[in-house]
């Protein structure tokens, strides 16, 4: 019995196109609507806020955009590999300090951080170059130490990353000749990370992170997340693909760190530790760690929620009711609720695309119903 014939007889209603055209089965541009939608949302919000011209709201947006870059870099590794990357904020910190050291003028450095190595004091680069150089430093650190760690998965992998975060944090908080030790590191000068700088970098990072996920490297990494052994017997070297993603993730983290330090203008090692990681993690979990859209909408939602809660907190404290810290509690509880009932976050781990929007629209579902009805009638006939 010829199975092919038998099966195709069963499935007569499926039309088999004669043309052997690859675009029918694999089309990169078909998947690009996600990037366009996400960037459009971000730019429209950014433009509107710039037009409003209220410094308070502009600050919230700029800080939120920097956080978005952080979450995207975090999602790049964790979302695609399934390994909780605690050390990520450490790379954000390295990028923040490194780019600040590169961009500050020697005069400011001698005044602010007298203990600094002389060769670092004399280093001076323009802001965009310093930003890139800071990210490269974070990436280089990751590239040097990550290889032996990439073999480790699941709980062991997460614990190793946690230990690594401790190492990086102690380095940042004790190396007085570089980071001013536990004291505050003040950049001086004016704020270089403006709304448009943050927005521009965020647009580039959205593109990079999304196409990484869809590239064959990203596909390999997602396969190892699903099943490491099946991936290996499909010819995927899981250590190598994880390593590439980890290093790329450290680069984006370093970039976000550089933007952050040139926005906030005074940093300490404590700015890149548990509470920061918790914030990023809550955004990725609530949005949906498996998709770029998840990181995007998670950041948007949690940023708005935190701002709202902070206002409530302020209001309560002013009216004599001690409520400081309640924002963190609410976000943490929300994260727990999501992990129990909706572990894939609000996006369900899927990407927002033009198709998914059309399907939700009333006209789209009408069309689909019509098609289904026609199909049924054909089957009857």
């Amino acid at each position: 019995m010829n199975l092919a014939k038998k099966l195709s007889n069963q499935q007569e209603n499926i039309k088999q196109p004669a043309a052997k055209d690859i675009s029918q089965y694999f089309d990169f541009s078909r998947k690009s609507s996600t990037v366009v939608i996400l960037i459009a949302i971000l730019v429209v919000i950014g433009y509107f806020i710039w037009w409003l011209n209220i410094p308070f709201i502009e600050d919230i947006f700029t800080a939120g955009t920097i956080t978005l870059i952080m979450t995207l870099g975090f999602q790049l590794f964790m979302g695609n590999s399934g390994i909780l990357n605690w050390s990520y904020v450490g790379y954000v910190g390295i990028g923040a300090f490194a780019s600040a050291i590169f961009s500050m003028t020697p005069a400011v450095k001698t005044m602010q951080i007298p203990t600094m190595y002389p060769f670092l004091i004399n280093l001076h680069l323009p802001f965009p170059v310093a930003l890139l150089a800071g990210a490269l430093v974070a990436m280089t650190v990751a590239a040097i130490i990550a290889w032996p760690l990439m073999r480790l998965s699941d709980a062991v992998g997460a614990i190793t990353q946690f230990a690594l975060l401790i190492v990086i944090n102690v380095m940042l908080s004790q190396w007085s000749q570089v980071t001013n030790g536990p004291r505050t590191f003040t950049l001086g000068g004016k704020r270089l990370t403006t709304l448009w700088v943050a927005l521009g970098v965020a647009v580039l990072v959205i593109i990079a992170v999304y196409y990484f996920k869809e590239s064959s490297l990203g596909l390999k990494l997602r396969a190892t997340r699903d099943d490491r052994y099946a991936a290996r017997s499909s010819g995927i070297n899981f250590v190598a693909v994880r390593y590439c993603a980890y290093v790329a993730s450290a680069f984006i983290g370093g970039l976000a760190g550089g933007l952050y330090s040139h926005y906030i203008l005074s940093i300490t090692a404590a700015s890149f530790y548990m509470s920061e990681l918790f914030m990023i993690l809550s955004m990725v979990v609530i949005g949906g760690s498996m998709s770029v859209s998840g990181a995007f909408f998670g950041t948007l939602l949690v940023t708005l929620l935190r701002q709202f809660l902070r206002q409530v907190e302020l209001f309560l404290t002013r009216s004599g009711f001690e409520a400081s810290g309640s924002t963190e509690i609410v976000v943490a509880v929300l994260m727990i609720i999501f992990l129990i009932w909706q572990a894939d976050g609000i996006t369900g781990g899927r990407e927002l695309s033009w198709r998914s929007i059309k399907r939700r629209l009333p006209s789209g579902s009408k069309k689909r119903n019509k098609v289904l009805k026609n199909k049924k009638q054909e089957e009857k006939a």
């Binding site: 019995m1 010829n2 199975l3 092919a4 038998k6 099966l7 195709s8 069963q10 499935q11 499926i14 088999q16 052997k20 055209d21 690859i22 029918q24 089965y25 694999f26 064959s216 596909l219 390999k220 997602r222 396969a223 997340r225 699903d226 099943d227 052994y229 099946a230 991936a231 290996r232 017997s233 499909s234 010819g235 995927i236 070297n237 498996m290 781990g349």
Partner: protein, 245 residues
């Protein structure tokens, strides 16, 4: 070893820790052959496939694939050489779409017209995969997942396709479909090494068979001869209706 031999295993020893799983297995597969490995649970059937595919490291012995010694090679290297293992238990990638699952099988080849042609060819075998092309693999039914796993093995155009218990846990109707599929693949001259518990079905379609017991090959040769040997049937195949569903 003649030119026609695609896989030659000799004196293979594999152990899980201190437990010896294979005791000096010798076997070979020729081009275009369908070779079946039968035996009861724990006889070492899957172990020998995993050792050949590089998932398990052999303790000693030699595995020659297309004339090259490959014992101890990594699975990813063997995959590049043209070996495809369809692991036990419908080992697909559940969060990836059917399209992405197939693309993973096709790593190492360009996504060009010949890939599209091969996909068309696959969809003539598995029309359901075309229908579900953009759905996540985890949303497919058990039988569909098994078909996806086999399709993923086939899309790399392997020189040797190894199927580990493809009928495991499927309904009788689906088992029929899978066996008809294997016959179809055989008629397309694909070299297949099949591990099956369903011994009577597997022997019915195989060119040659190896009967495993306690990590050793108890019998090898034509399936008809093996089936004629009633003693072996009753002992290792669990009686007349043992392998039947």
């Amino acid at each position: 070893m003649n030119n026609n031999t695609i896989l030659q295993v000799s004196d293979l020893y594999v152990a899980y820790g201190s437990i010896q799983a294979l005791h000096g297995v010798c076997m070979e597969v020729h081009k275009g052959e369908l070779v079946s490995i039968c035996g009861v649970n724990g006889a070492g059937k899957s172990t020998v496939l995993k050792a050949i595919a590089g998932v398990l490291k052999p303790r000693s012995g030699s595995i020659r694939f297309k004339g090259k010694e490959v014992a101890g090679s990594k699975p990813e290297q063997l995959h590049k050489m043209g070996m495809a293992l369809v692991p036990e238990g419908r080992d697909i990638f559940p969060s990836l779409t059917v399209e992405e699952n197939l693309r993973i099988g096709a790593f190492g080849r360009r996504l060009d017209k010949s890939y599209a042609a091969d996909l068309e060819d696959l969809f003539s075998l598995f029309p359901i995969l075309k229908e579900r092309y953009h759905q996540a693999g985890g949303l497919l039914s058990g039988g569909e997942q098994q078909m996806l796993a086999i399709a993923r093995g086939l899309i790399s155009n392997p020189d040797l396709l190894m199927l580990d218990e493809p009928s495991l846990g499927l309904s009788p109707a689906l088992v029929d479909q899978i066996f008809e599929l294997i016959i179809e693949l055989k008629s397309r001259n694909i070299t297949i090494l099949l591990v099956e518990q369903n011994a009577q079905r597997a022997l019915g379609i195989a060119d040659r068979a190896y009967l495993f017991s306690n990590g050793r090959i108890e019998y090898s040769g034509r399936p008809q001869e093996l089936m004629d040997n009633v003693d072996i049937t009753s002992v290792y195949l669990g009686g007349q209706n043992g392998g039947d569903v």
